[in-house]
Subunit: 457 residues, 2 copies
């Protein structure tokens, strides 16, 4: 008998070289996320402004059972026999999803997005939706996808997996710039490339926290139409914010320029892994037959996950039905909570680093009215080394904003997530953060050959 | 006010050319599947040997609630607090899965596969596992994946999505041939390509129904080791078959040559969409740091689905725990049922087309001892036109075997699935099929310039 605990895996077994695996496994974003996880694990008492997660406190396990029963009752109410209801839960389901009508109803009730259920594809979170849309649109090496930058790492990750080229449209401190978009489009076309789409989170973006104003929305749509560019609008933070949001790009879209992505991960629950794409663009083949882009996404989904968990779809549908299809109703209490958390964070930062002091230091932050994130500009490199010091010496964690730049940038900024903390944690965490920023700014100034006029300025 | 039902989607909106989308949406397999779905829909009274689905009859919705409670109770029994149990169900979970240990225990109990939980990645069905493994292994244009052919369309679909080249290793009527494998490897290497892995379903394969015998398993492992080829072993039909299966390739693997894929879709329930990959291969980077291939698959999964539904994982884990981790116990009754269905199909075919008659016609079939599928060779082209006639005139459906050949083949064979029908449907369906085969053989002989000696033979 072998004394090895796992006789199938002797150390002398097959060894693969990492360099022989696909390049996407070496995406630096993955390494940074690994680093962040490790440091979180190493300093369990640190207060973390890092994870972009919804707060658990509003969740009750019994809701899952109730929503599941609710959806099954709904099917029975539609006249389905018990055997049909059983099949709906048990079997392989339609690849495009079995709750498309409920999703479409909800979008009509909440978002002014009025599309037929056939244009909806239910996905394993918005992440799968990103992969499907990128795969459909990036047909050859000349096709590129534009992303507002900094941007959510999920879209760049999906692109890397597919070997698709992502081109950043850099935001400045005030956010997205249409001039920059026009410049990038012109430059890419001149280089023989074809910009297929722009990925953007118009509301309380991850990571910046910025929101496109109404005028920019209209002008972005007009520009996209003019250039034959699709817009991939991601919307995860709309219903986790207080107040009435601005209209979605999709609700303003009169030319089917927008592919709208949604997620129930921030509202109903993350573990369910249910999102969707609305893709009502017409697709015509060489024989003149037409269909919807949603049909093509469905074909691709059959090669990725076959269908989204029927159980997860049932629970999400049950939750939507229980709120008359309105996420705005369902999520009113958490949305107010997240609004308070953001306000508390801003108020505490203001108290710890008043205007004169932060101007002296060269520190600034934006003031999102909702969502999970804000960004803080600092006078030092907010890199992994700074994060490690922040964790070790000050007991506070955050995310380097540079993690979110596809082609570099953001070295002097950090992302704070306010969604996952209690008020007391935010108060203590911002105090620690202010101490860290003060100390790090001073240390960097001591090290740097700084001009006298800003030294201790 | 516009009279349009969906004001966001006017007919004058954006039109995309299908030729501008990625080639995978034009995978002919998708068109054939669409055709099969349409014809199934058009002839609702036809008896269908087409869908490779488990039988609904053993499923009870209340089991879902019980298994979910069971898993939550299990977590509580491990000392998790109510808040921790809530978080486990509610939150984003670990990308590699939260039931890895339970999956590993089950593999040890049932399959003689003894691997640490760290080598398991829980996936959205085996489909996602295929995508992850192909993505990891196909790093450049010279990398190819071998597949026994005919083969499951999920593996070729995942390859097309990634733009990866699939090279068929043709089975003959007796199944997989090591000689053919050696020939293909030599030919690919001579052409400057690098065969990275061979995809195979050793037990009751989809679509052929063939099983690798024990000697072939040992020799296949030795050949793969010799050539530095990984084997991707897919295992969906092991626990839906009567009796004790042959050892998995993974349980015989002493050199970490096998990546083992599994699915709970045929056993626990399809709608849950839970599968897994066992990837205990060591991966070493240029700095000498080592990890497991499972870690790399996890990194890729973070770009595809982030994590598998916690709800689905919980129900599958609850089912496994209720059967002491043994799918063999959990699925004993359905496995016997599927065995009976296969035997009934073979018995009825024998009665309808006795040996002398089928020899005269040139009809043959294999005799799987389990699984969902068998293949029937016929003297006519078993194409979509034949399928349409079979449905319209004879009220019986099947799948053209040609659907499952990556590079053509199988034009004179069809796949029968026996898993989804009652005994009475099998009896009636095989009678209809025999009538169809008789009529189609006669019609083809009338049309063809057939030699006199086989005419009416």
């Amino acid at each position: 008998m072998s004394a090895t605990a796992f006789p199938n895996t002797p150390p002398e077994g097959r060894v693969l070289r990492r360099g022989d695996l696909h390049a996407c496994v070496r995406d630096p974003v993955l390494d940074t996320m690994t680093f962040l996880n490790e440091i979180t694990h190493r300093y369990p008492d640190a207060i973390s402004f890092a994870p972009g997660r919804p707060y658990d406190g509003f969740f009750d396990i019994e809701q899952v059972f109730d929503h599941l029963r609710g959806y099954l009752g709904h099917l029975a109410g539609l006249g389905r026999t018990p055997a049909e209801v059983r099949t709906a839960l048990y079997q392989y389901g339609p690849t495009a999803g079995q709750i498309r009508g409920i999703v479409a109803d909800s979008l009509r009730a909440d978002e002014g997005i009025d599309v037929p259920p056939e244009s909806v594809v239910v996905t394993v979170g918005a992440q799968e939706a990103m992969l499907l849309v990128l795969r459909a649109l990036v047909a050859g090496p000349e096709d590129v996808v534009l992303v507002t930058s900094p941007c959510y790492s999920g879209i760049t990750g999906a692109a890397r997996l597919l070997g698709a080229t992502v081109v950043p449209v850099d935001e400045d401190e005030h956010g997205f710039s249409l001039t920059e978009l026009e410049t990038v489009i012109a430059r890419e076309r001149a280089a023989g490339r074809r910009p297929r789409a722009l990925y953007v989170i118009p509301d309380h973006s991850n990571p910046s926290g910025n929101t496109l104003d109404r005028d920019t929305r209209d002008r972005l749509l007009a520009a996209a139409e003019r250039h034959g560019l699709l817009i991939i609008e991601d919307s995860p933070y709309r219903r986790v914010s207080p107040g009435t949001p601005l209209p979605t790009l999709k609700s303003l879209d009169r030319s089917r320029t927008v592919v709208h992505l949604g997620s129930y991960s921030k509202t109903v629950f993350p573990g369910a892994r249910v999102g969707f794409a609305v893709a009502d663009q017409e697709v015509v083949d060489e024989d003149g037959r037409t269909g919807l882009l949603a049909d093509e996404l469905t074909r691709i989904k059959s090669m990725v996950t076959v269908n989204t968990s029927s159980l997860s779809q049932a629970v999400v549908a049950g939750a939507l039905l229980a709120a008359d299809g309105r996420l705005s109703t369902l999520n009113a209490e958490p949305a107010a909570y997240y609004g308070d958390a953001m306000n508390t964070t801003l108020r505490c930062l203001d108290a710890r680093l008043p205007a004169a002091r932060r101007e002296a230091l060269g520190v600034r932050w934006n003031r999102p009215a909702g969502g999970f994130f804000l960004t803080v500009r600092v006078p030092f490199r907010a890199d992994n080394a700074a994060l490690a010091r922040s964790a070790e010496k000050f007991g506070v964690l955050w995310t380097p904003l540079s993690y979110f730049y596809p082609d570099g940038g953001g070295e002097h900024a950090l992302r704070l997530s306010t969604s996952y903390l209690t008020k007391a944690e935010i108060e203590e965490g911002t105090a620690r953060l202010a101490d860290f920023i003060e100390a790090q700014s001073a240390a960097d100034q001591d090290l740097a050959p700084a001009p006298a006029d800003i030294r201790r300025g």
